[in-house]
């Protein structure tokens, strides 16, 4: 590590909570808190809630890709695993399993199971690098999709499970639009803050160093594999929490939700938003959900997927760093190098 890098790292480590929480964060949070007062139920859950859920899954990918240099296509599979735990051990009306255990048992269980599964995927994937990580995680995602689709004993095959209900706690049914939105928001804020803070913790900085030069890190005594697998476990926590919300959001889970299409969708969200900063995946999710929902009204049923594709192509063509990068390009600043974690510290390295 060069002297400059060390100094910069020291400076970063010195920055605490106060520097992370900016007035803009406050404004954004305020807006998100009063959003239910302005939005219809549809915009609250189908756009707002769904964006936050997809944003969290993409955030778990951003954590791996942005800080760990590991691009995973299996994040939706991990979220789906949590959703299947909810369906199998909670209540469903598909007549298969549905042990109706209470929510405070199955929810932590689902998230924990997802994170352990994620660590297991990571254990396999960390032996590879770059394009091979993408391929191996794609293989895992595809295998899981076909397995759930054809296995009836455990996963109830193609139709999957329906009739999943969010819990009723404190006299509130948590799938009602307003409570569900706040539930998603709370989860997303916690995940966002945790990633933002974690990126500057000792572990976060070590992980980024491992991404930049694993050989050197190994030489000075770090256990590179353990750091990477731990990052997978952490990202599994976020994806798992999002998976539980996804199960409650759709009220059902089927292999269609964890197919190859949705898996790539998560990657698109992360790329569109930008991998440099944890806010990127959420921006990407909002944009992607909006365009996927309303493109059919703009250009009709025959060509709406073309419009979606062209839009994504345009974003990636104009800015390889997604919308975050686009913003930086359009709005150059004199002190550009000074703000935020730049690409040299938290972007994806080739």
């Amino acid at each position: 590590m060069s002297l400059v890098e060390t100094q910069r790292t020291e400076k970063l480590r010195g920055s605490g909570w106060r520097e992370l929480v900016t007035p803009a964060h406050g404004l954004l949070l305020l807006f998100l808190l009063v959003y239910p007062a302005m939005a219809s139920d549809f915009f609250l859950t189908q756009i707002g809630g769904y964006s936050l859920i997809l944003g969290m899954i993409a955030l778990s990918l951003m954590l791996l890709a942005g800080y760990g240099g590991m691009v995973s296509l299996a994040q939706i599979t991990i979220a789906g695993a949590a959703a299947y735990v909810i369906a199998i051990f909670g209540e469903n009306n598909s007549g298969v399993h549905g042990f109706a255990w209470p929510w405070w048992v199955i929810t932590p269980m689902a998230i924990l199971f997802a994170s352990v599964l994620s660590a297991a995927f990571g254990w396999v994937a960390v032996r590879t690098e770059g394009i091979y990580t993408i391929m191996i995680t794609l293989a895992i995602a595809t295998a899981c999709f076909y397995f759930t689709q054809q296995n009836y004993a455990l996963f109830n095959g193609f139709p999957g499970y329906s009739g999943l209900r969010a819990p009723e706690v404190f006299g509130l049914y948590w799938r009602d639009p307003v409570p569900f939105y706040y539930l998603c928001l709370a989860n997303a804020v916690v995940a966002y803050a945790a990633v933002l803070y974690g990126a500057r913790s000792t572990f976060g900085l070590t992980l980024q160093a491992v991404r930049d030069n694993p050989r050197r890190m190994r030489a000075i005594g770090y256990n590179v594999t353990a750091h990477k697998v731990f990052a997978w476990w952490l990202s599994g926590l976020i994806a798992g929490a999002a998976g539980v919300l996804l199960a409650w959001f759709n009220g059902r889970i089927s292999p269609g939700s964890i197919a190859v299409g949705p898996a790539i969708n998560i990657l698109i969200i992360a790329i569109i938003g930008g991998l440099r900063h944890p806010v990127g995946p959420f921006i990407g999710a909002v944009v992607v959900v909006l365009i996927q929902t309303f493109a059919i009204d703009l250009v009709g049923a025959e060509r709406f997927n073309t419009l979606i594709g062209l839009f994504f192509l345009a974003v990636v063509f104009l800015s390889p760093d997604g919308i975050l990068g686009l913003w930086e390009r359009v709005k150059p600043r004199p002190d550009r190098d000074a703000w935020g974690p730049g690409p040299e510290r938290s972007g994806v390295r080739e």
């Binding site: 520097e19 900016t22 007035p23 803009a24 964060h25 404004l27 954004l28 807006f31 998100l32 959003y35 302005m38 939005a39 219809s40 139920d41 549809f42 915009f43 189908q46 756009i47 009306n93 007549g95 076909y146 689709q149 054809q150 009836y152 095959g157 193609f158 139709p159 999957g160 329906s162 009739g163 759709n250 009220g251 059902r252 889970i253 089927s254 292999p255 269609g256 939700s257 197919a259 900063h277 806010v279 959420f282 921006i283 909002v286 944009v287 909006l290 929902t293 059919i296 009204d297 049923a301 025959e302 709406f304 997927n305 919308i323 975050l324 913003w327 930086e328 709005k331 703000w339 935020g340």
Partner: protein
């Protein structure tokens, strides 16, 4: 002040979220949602179903109950989750009070479940044909004027056993609720007549390699019952032929339709003489059917003959428009009166009279067909026999029928 700009950008994007919510204006037209598969493996079928729905709208001059009809489309990719998401958008964002769709089996069951949470909205099925959409745990506001996959098989099992003389049959079908229902409908008659089904193969949708499936089919069966759709059917049939398979075939409702019969290759020899059954027949001579085909052909990109998907969406859309005329477009009571009219509706379709049973599932005529060669060498489904007014329990007493159990991979069974 790091990240300020980025976060402000997030704010700006988020502000855009509220704008469309404000701009929802109520127009003076009757909004009807059409939910079909405009993406994924069934896109071609989805587009044809839209043609069917639009044929009905044009027949009514684009008006129902005195109001202009506004069609709003929703797209799914044949997975139940995407169907529910699209239905939610149509109902909760676009505010449709009548929704026609969806297209495929498990989508129908999922949308039925969703219908229960929207009691003021009336759902009419598209072409989805799983039995449990209406038979078990039905929704009060879900109507199916098209019939289910077991009804479509009426007459086929008996014909295969008595007229074709097949005593043992192996089945090959896709692995989800619609083919289960089709196999159920076929076996209900075939097993009752005395036939045996020693082997059933279930393959995932979109399967490409059928070699293991073909190897698993016993050599001593008299025929193979195939319930595969579109590309799956073509792949299976050509691989079966290449593997030297000799057994004659029996077709499901969407196995030997025009998309397969017009496929290129040497399927010709093995397809001629294949019996099948379904809600429509290409060579139906009735003037109503011919008029429907003419009206259908005016749509953009129409096939030479409407698929059963176009037919099902047409019938359901027509039912909605007839009932709307009856209540003069008045849905102000949450559609209660509209649904009452629908429940008692009975009308003439291009394929004969349709009425509903107490589960709001259609009773209609079914067509037994056989693939034959026309004078110009093309293949078409020749009408053999019409089974009149088939109900959902296939003429069996309801209690006995219910005792047969839920359709699945293993039910029914007569090895």
């Amino acid at each position: 002040m790091s990240m300020t700009r980025r976060t402000m950008l997030a704010l700006a994007v988020a502000t855009g979220l509220t704008a469309p919510a404000i701009s929802i204006a109520q127009a003076e037209s009757m909004k009807i949602g059409v939910l079909a598969t405009f993406e994924g493996a069934f896109t071609v079928l989805g587009e044809d179903s839209e043609r069917g729905a639009l044929t009905a709208v044009q027949e009514f001059g684009g008006k129902a109950g005195g109001n202009d009809i506004e069609i709003i489309r929703g797209s799914s990719d044949a997975s139940p989750d995407s169907a529910v998401r699209a239905a939610r958008k149509l109902v909760e964002q676009d505010g449709v009070k009548i929704l026609v769709g969806p297209l495929s089996g498990d989508e129908g069951i999922a949308v039925k479940e969703y219908a229960k949470t929207q009691p003021d909205v009336t759902f009419l099925n598209g072409s989805s044909a799983a039995q449990d959409t209406t038979f078990r745990d039905p929704a009060e506001n879900f109507f199916r004027f098209s019939t289910d996959g077991a009804q479509w098989m009426a007459g086929l099992g008996t014909y295969a056993y008595n007229d074709k003389g097949y005593k043992t049959v192996a089945t090959v079908a896709e692995d989800y609720s619609f083919p289960y229902t089709q196999v159920f409908g076929f076996m209900a008659e075939f097993c009752k007549a005395g036939g045996k089904v020693p082997s059933k193969s279930w393959v995932p949708i979109g399967n490409k390699d059928y070699s293991s499936v073909i190897a698993a089919i016993p050599d001593d069966v008299d025929a193979i019952y195939v319930a595969l759709g579109g590309a799956d059917a073509v792949n299976f049939l050509s691989q079966y032929q290449q593997a030297g398979g000799q057994a004659p075939l029996i077709g499901g409702s969407i196995t030997v339709d025009q998309t397969v019969l017009t496929a290129k290759g040497r399927l010709h020899d093995i397809l001629v003489g294949t019996p099948a059954a379904g809600p429509t027949a290409d060579t139906n001579d009735s003037p109503e059917w011919k008029a429907f085909v003419e009206a259908y052909k005016k749509q953009d990109g129409a096939f030479p003959s409407p698929s059963l998907f176009a037919h099902a969406y047409y019938v359901n859309m027509k039912a909605a428009l007839l009932a709307l005329d009856e209540v003069k477009g008045d849905l102000s009571d949450g559609g209660k009166k509209f649904r009452e009219v629908l429940s008692n509706l009975s009308f003439e379709t291009p394929t004969g009279k349709v009425s509903l049973d107490k589960n709001r599932n259609a009773i209609a005529d079914m067509f037994l067909t056989e693939v034959s060669e026309a004078a110009d060498g093309t293949l078409l489904n020749k009408l053999i026999k019409v089974t009149p007014q088939v109900n959902q329990t296939l003429g069996i007493d309801e209690a006995d029928f219910r005792a047969l159990g839920k359709v699945s991979r293993d039910n029914p069974s007569c090895p």
